[in-house]
Amino acid sequence: MAIDIGFEGQAQRRAWSQHRGVRWVRRGEAFLFPVALVALWWIASALGWLPEQILPAPAYVVETARNMISTGELFYHAGVSLRRVVFGFSIGASLGMILGIAMGLSRRFEDYVKPTFLAFAQIPTLGWIPLLMLLVGIEETLKIIIIAKGALVPVALNTFSGIRSVPGKYLEVGRALRFSPWQRLRKIILPSALPSIFTGIRYGLTHAWTSLVGVELLASSEGLGYLLVWGRQMFWLDTVIIAMIVIGIIGFAMDRGLEASEIFIRRWKRQSEE
C-alpha cells in the first residue's frame, strides 16, 4: 500500500464525494473494520482459540442482550444510571456556573476563592470517593456528590475563562449605554461567554458520566457500573461487554445531543443579533 500523504486535489475530492454513490461507499467503509473485527471474534470463538470465560461467542452476547432487553433489566440499570447523572450533573453544572460567574465578575472573589478551588480541583474525582464514603456512606448521596463534583470543575473553569475573555470594547459599549449590572451580565457578558460555557458543559457531562461509572463500580447495587462488577464477579463476560457498549452509546448520545444544542443556540444567537 502506498503511503498517501499528499493532500492535493482535496477540492476535487470534495466535489466527488458530493456524489451520492461515493458518499455511500464512504459510509460503508466505516463499517468494514467493525465487521472484520466481529468476524475475527466469531472465528476465534467458533474454533475455540480462547475459552468461553475469556471471550464469549458473539451470538451468545447478542442472545444475552436480547434477554436483558426483553426482561427490561438493561433499561432498568441504564435508567438508574441516567437518573443519577441527570441529577448530579444538573447540581454540579449549576453550582459550577454560579462559581465561575462569581469568580469571573469579581476580582476580589477570584482572589479569595480561586486558589482554594484549584487546590481542591487537583484531587481526582476518584480520590474523593473513599473519603466521601466515610462521610456520607455508600447510598445515593455519595453518587450524586461525586457526579456533581465531576461536572462542577470544568464548568466553573470554562465559565470563568469565558467571562474573563469578554472583549473590553463590549463592556465599554455597555457603559456608554448606561446598562445596569444585571443588563450588562445578561446582554453582554453571558452571550459573549456562551461558547466557552458550552465547552465547559460538554466536558462537565463527559466527566460526570465517567465519575458515574467509577462510583458505581465501587459502591452500587444497581446501574450500569454495577452490571460491570456483577458480570465480572460471575465471570459473565457477555454481561460485561453489553454494559460497556451501553455505556459507550449513552456517552456518545449525550455528547452529540449537547453538540447539536450548541449549534442550535449559536445559530439562534446569530439570528437574534441580526
Binding site: F33, V113, Q122, P124, P130, G225
Partner: protein
C-alpha cells in the same frame, strides 16, 4: 502587576484555606463533629509521619509512579505511532477511525472489568489499563494535528522529493507537535487517573490507591486524607511538568 497588589492577592488567597483549617481544628477540639469523620490536623500529620517511617509510604508512592510512567510511555509510544499511521495512510484512516471514535466513547473505567478478566489483577493488568488511558488522547491529538497540515507544506516535501518516512519525520510530525503536546499533556493526566483507578479496582500490590482503599476499609479517615492529599499533589506536579515540557517543546516555533 505591582508588588502591593500581589501581596494583597496572596493574603486573599490564603484567607480561605486558613479559615478552613481553623474551623477544622476548632470543630475537633470543641467536639462539634465526630473525630472519626474529621480527625484533628495533628492526627493526620502523625499518620503521615507513621506511614512514611514505618509503612514505607515513599515506596508505595514509588511503585505507583513507576506503574504510571511505564504505562504512560507504552501508551504514548503506541499512540503517536498509531495516530501518525492513521493520519498518513488515508485508507486506514477512513476504515479504522470511525471504529476508534466509537470505542473511545466507552468511559475509561468501564474497561477495568474486561481487562481484569484478560490480564488478571496484577501488575500487567494495571499497566495495560494505564497505557490505554494515555493511548486514546495521544492517538486522537496526533491524528488531528497531522490531518491539519496545510497543503503547501506537503507540496514543499514533494518538491524536495522526500520519501514517505522523510515527509512524516521532517514535515508532518514537527507540524503536529503542538497538537501532540496537548495529547501528551492529557495523556499524563488521564494516566495518573488510571493509575489510581487501577489500584482501587485491581487491588493487589503496593500503591497509593491501595493505601486509600485500605484506609477506607479500616475507617481510618486520617489515612484516607493523607492518601488523597498525595493523589492531588502528584496530579498537580504532573500537570505542571506537562505544561513545562509543552512550552519547552514548542519554544523553537517562536
Amino acid at each position: 502587576m505591582d508588588q502591593t497588589s500581589n501581596i494583597i492577592r496572596i493574603r486573599r488567597g490564603l484567607t480561605l484555606p486558613l479559615l478552613l483549617l481553623v474551623v477544622w481544628e476548632a470543630s475537633g477540639r470543641l467536639g462539634l463533629v465526630d473525630v472519626r469523620f474529621l480527625p484533628p490536623i495533628e492526627d493526620v500529620i502523625l499518620t503521615a509521619k507513621h506511614e512514611i517511617i514505618d509503612n514505607g509510604l515513599v515506596g508505595q508512592l514509588g511503585s505507583s509512579l513507576l506503574r504510571n510512567i511505564a504505562g504512560f510511555l507504552i501508551g504514548a509510544a503506541l499512540g503517536v505511532s498509531f495516530g501518525t499511521l492513521l493520519a498518513a495512510v488515508r485508507i486506514t484512516d477512513r476504515i479504522v477511525m470511525p471504529t476508534f471514535n466509537g470505542i473511545k466513547q466507552i468511559s475509561l473505567l468501564a474497561w477495568i472489568p474486561l481487562i481484569s478478566v484478560w490480564f488478571g489483577f496484577g501488575e500487567q493488568a494495571k499497566i495495560v489499563f494505564v497505557a490505554l488511558a494515555a493511548f486514546i488522547p495521544i492517538t486522537l491529538n496526533t491524528h488531528d494535528g497531522i490531518r491539519d497540515a496545510p497543503r503547501e507544506l506537503i507540496e514543499v516535501g514533494r518538491a524536495l522529493r522526500f520519501n514517505a518516512w522523510q515527509r512524516i519525520t521532517r514535515i508532518l510530525l514537527p507540524f503536529a507537535l503542538p497538537s501532540i503536546a496537548t495529547g501528551i499533556h492529557l495523556g499524563l493526566i488521564y494516566s495518573w487517573l488510571a493509575t489510581v483507578g487501577a489500584e482501587y479496582f485491581l487491588a493487589v500490590g503496593p500503591g497509593i490507591g491501595g493505601l486509600v482503599i485500605a484506609g477506607r476499609e479500616r475507617f481510618d479517615m486520617a489515612l484516607v486524607m493523607v492518601g488523597v492529599i498525595i493523589l492531588g499533589f502528584v496530579g498537580f506536579i504532573f500537570n505542571r511538568l506537562a505544561g513545562a515540557a509543552e512550552r519547552r517543546l514548542l519554544r523553537w516555533r517562536d
